[in-house]
């Protein structure tokens, strides 16, 4: 193996380690959110507005 080929292989291996490490770190560190995104649809069922004038039975 010539010196040039040796260095080429060394650079390739080094690059692969860096890219792999970055990919692993990206996977391991969670994406952080404060604001969440709107839903496409509600996961439960939908109903019409009830008697809005009736005082709520809920506390608050």
């Amino acid at each position: 193996m010539t010196r040039r080929k040796f260095f080429q292989k060394l650079i390739k291996a080094g690059s692969a380690i860096i890219v792999g490490g970055w990919w692993l770190a990206k996977k391991a560190v969670p994406r952080k959110f404060v604001r969440a995104i709107k839903p496409n649809k509600y996961p439960g069922s939908l109903r019409p507005l009830g008697d809005i004038h009736k005082q709520s039975k809920w506390s608050g």
């Binding site: 994406r31 959110f33 509600y42 019409p48 608050g60």
Partner: protein, 323 residues
């Protein structure tokens, strides 16, 4: 990919397809989604005194809404059927912010309350609606446990006019054991809310054997006075056996009266008793001359003797938003 929600102090790490502790903030394909945005499970027009807010537009009606979910899991929760429900098991209405503001105007309500569960967990819906409401001259009211991180809280407060914030207890142990949360973030949220200039009222639900001892009440009222000021209205609220605390009796009137007396002796000017009929504990008295200012019966105002926010007899300015 795992996501982390940084809205509240729980800072849940959420795996794909899973939700945070609040049940409504879900990791869908590596993106955090708020599945209740625009889908309230409850909309009602309530008297503002029911929130309870006694120093904010008394005698007016307030359009009140909630979605399912909560970031706390209080064992005594009075609204657990909606606060501890999963969105997929619930029935909701489709009311995006603009439709909600339209509804508030249609029914001539002066304000909108984000209440019943906790508006923190439907943060984006609350924020967008409050912003829109503010531009339509509608006031915004939060009824919350105040369990939120500083940065989103500051941003939300820009559009809020008043809040009733629960101070459920005064020890970390109480918050850990009863609410599965922590006390410090709530105290920070209270201080920040007050400092932001909005009207703040505080509610403490008194639970027999858990937070009803005189020294606990004294400690709580001293904290309120020292950190929020003696003019901050404090509501002692009656507990009813619900959810995982059905073994405890309802709070007695005697315990509530005792709490009120302690708070007044400690120097708080406006102390109220809620969820129970009480002669003195529902009225507002002038801290200057002790004359009756606002007489209430339940959620009804019997008389309001304030003139431009001041006592009719001695002229003292009374803390509140009166028009």
């Amino acid at each position: 990919m795992t996501v982390q929600c940084e809205l509240c102090p729980k800072e849940c790490l959420i795996e794909p397809g899973q939700s945070g502790e609040c049940r409504v903030r879900i990791n869908i394909d590596g993106v955090l989604r708020t599945v209740v945005y625009g889908y309230p499970c409850s909309i009602h027009i309530d008297p503002i005194e029911k929130k309870p807010l006694f120093h904010f537009l008394p005698g007016t009606k307030i359009l009140s809404l909630a979605t399912v979910g909560c970031n706390l899991h209080c064992r005594n929760c009075q609204n657990w059927e909606i606060s501890q429900a999963n969105p997929e098991d619930s029935r909701a209405m489709n009311y995006p912010p603009e439709k909600l503001v339209g509804l508030t105007k249609h029914y001539r309500c002066l304000s909108l309350a984000y209440t019943y569960t906790d508006p923190i967990i439907f943060y984006e819906y609350t924020y967008d609606t409050a912003k829109l409401a503010k531009s339509a001259n509608i006031r915004n009211v939060l009824v919350t446990a105040g369990y939120i991180n500083e940065e989103p809280w500051k941003r939300l407060l820009e559009y809020v006019d008043a809040a009733n914030i629960d101070l459920k207890g005064i020890t970390e142990d109480f918050y850990r054991r009863v609410c599965l949360g922590t006390l410090k973030p709530v105290q920070d949220a209270l201080v920040l809310a007050k400092a932001s200039g909005i009207l703040v009222e505080v509610t403490n639900l008194i639970i027999p054997t858990l937070n009803d001892k005189p020294e606990q009440i004294r400690k709580l009222t001293r904290w309120v006075k020292a950190n929020l000021g003696s003019d901050t209205p404090l509501h002692f609220s009656r507990f009813f056996p619900r959810y995982k605390m059905r073994h405890l009796p309802p709070t007695s009137l005697k315990a509530l009266d005792m709490a009120r007396e302690i708070a007044i002796a400690e120097g708080l000017n406006y102390v109220y008793i809620g969820n129970i009929r009480s002669e003195l504990g529902q009225n507002t008295y002038c801290p200057g001359c002790n004359s009756l200012l606002i007489e209430r019966s339940g959620y009804t105002i019997l008389q309001n003797r304030l003139k431009e926010g001041c006592c009719l007899d001695c002229g003292k300015e009374i803390y509140g938003v009166w028009k």
